[in-house]
Symmetry: C2
Subunit: 380 residues, 2 copies
Amino acid sequence: MTRPRFSFSIAATDGKARTGTIAMRRGDIRTPAFMPVGTAATVKAMRPAEVRAAGADIILGNTYHLMLRPGAERVARLGGLHGFMGWDRPILTDSGGYQVMSLSALTKMSEDGVAFASHIDGSKHMLTPERSMEIQRLLGSDIVMAFDECTRNGVTHDEAARSMERSMRWAKRSRDAFDAGVDHAAGAALFGIQQGSLDEGLRKASGQALVEIGFDGYAVGGLAVGEGQEAMFACLDYAPGQLPEDRPRYLMGVGKPDDIVGAVERGIDMFDCVLPTRSGRNGQAFTWTGPLNIRNARFAEDMGPLDPECGCPVCTGWSRAYLHHLVKAKEILGAMLMTQHNIHFYQSLMQHLRDAIAEKRLSAFAQAFRTRYGKGRQAD
Amino acid sequence: MTRPRFSFSIAATDGKARTGTIAMRRGDIRTPAFMPVGTAATVKAMRPAEVRAAGADIILGNTYHLMLRPGAERVARLGGLHGFMGWDRPILTDSGGYQVMSLSALTKMSEDGVAFASHIDGSKHMLTPERSMEIQRLLGSDIVMAFDECTRNGVTHDEAARSMERSMRWAKRSRDAFDAGVDHAAGAALFGIQQGSLDEGLRKASGQALVEIGFDGYAVGGLAVGEGQEAMFACLDYAPGQLPEDRPRYLMGVGKPDDIVGAVERGIDMFDCVLPTRSGRNGQAFTWTGPLNIRNARFAEDMGPLDPECGCPVCTGWSRAYLHHLVKAKEILGAMLMTQHNIHFYQSLMQHLRDAIAEKRLSAFAQAFRTRYGKGRQAD
């Protein structure tokens, strides 16, 4: 049986929340989904099999990082990102637009795109909608993101409008360039990205512009850029509803566990964030009673697991005392185990959310989660 | 069936080489054996299950590192080193004598022992034969090493003699202190350490002194300290023969693959070395055609495995090009995979040596190994 290029089916809804499945050539993606971030062709400190065992159906790769090292053409010569890194399920790649602005030096924006110097070796590069589509095609991405400008937090209405309008022109160029890569487009999907800062009217105009172009899925971009959870949720009270109900909605770069729960309640289906991996390397563990920092001296002789409610290989195999020791001693195994637990925690949270939606008890689950998680967070 | 405290049976010999089994409470150790080094309660960048899957029957823990962090008393309160790190098979601990001299600051040697300051936080400590035995007991070590002074390379005959004689007095104090820890001694083994630098007469006297005290096994100490392979092999031409034939002989801190092959031919049964783990983190891979440095640009688009003759999960899962990328990008997964391959390579080498001895073809195996491995080494 041939698997579909891209098909999204919603199995159940609960309020604005939905649970379902995205079916693609390389596998199914259960939604709401959390995508671990595999920046440089690796989910940091994890083997692909460990990422999969944690429950991930899809991972994210970064166009900006991969175009600089090892290079998109090189990845293509080596057979594509999947074979290169040993992950045979779907990969979503971002467009490079966000990171070129946050990481590179000497950027110069124009209507054509962004010229910049590599943060690794200073080499000069140019990202345009067309080049971004080409890179994502060379990588062999399953879900390609349109090239956009991530509008900064705190800009004026006029700046937000001009930025959004440029992103919409780039969305059209992305669509055209993606479709021109016929062989790749036959097996991959393209997502558009809604911008418009925190302005409901601009968000609506952006959503309409994207729908007019037509995409397989739609991302809410430009959030989690410093506006705070309250402002983000206020925007999510209307933004997902401005995007087609029968298409997956992806909230880029989000987020903390309580961000995810609130966004799922508001109709978001997909997430990515470096938090579980980056925090893990820094000694922070996510638990059902809030985050904890394993470096804290109170864990030095704590023989309990990181999270007593977690069944992951880390929580069943080692104590907080051991993880405290590893992280304090800067042992690589500390980063490995903390990351593994955190990815398990995030995937477990998504499974709980999917189950709660399917059983129409999301509100009760979310309320109970916030109460316990928030209390733990304050106590830490 | 109760497992023995310590029993060494030689299944076959080939020239001076032997293959057999050490049976202990926590498991069998196939000899010749290579013990991966788990310095700070972790074989760096590997989970215990991965170390075991590579073929290791026993690992080594470092008394010096563990006494400073997390501390021997703390490990004891947490139930011992095995449970702490999740390795349920035998652990050999060194005595701390070597590393206190090479790593710590402000050391002061006396007949009693060594006073020193921690390289981590400057705290003051004292290691004596009695304290070393106590620490190894607190850790729950299966094979305890006598506390000795590792004689430096290049000393005069008189210095070597005085150092060796002190080590022999410390060996007796170690034996007495080990035996006084009755509960631990009932399940663990104690090894003595031969010193005497590169002097055959001193080595002989040291061996006799140790045998007079009586140990479960005997280490050849004070080699691989800068004397070079030729001088080391010259010493190994007589040193193992000065130790009891019916007891395991352990060459401490060795070594490169060709060192191990030559030492096995000279009657050594056990080895430990940081080389496979440390080299792995630095981008060096061991292969049957010699070591290679994966950072080399010629591997950037090499789709072959690290070692075409290796069946380890790394060689069957990823290309040289991918490992090159990971190591260049300083990704943790690079250290994980390079280390995993190297530990597999070392364990595979030991299995080949055991098989060759059992089939009385060690000389041919060793000659073929040296030819291929040495050629590759020169080419790199």
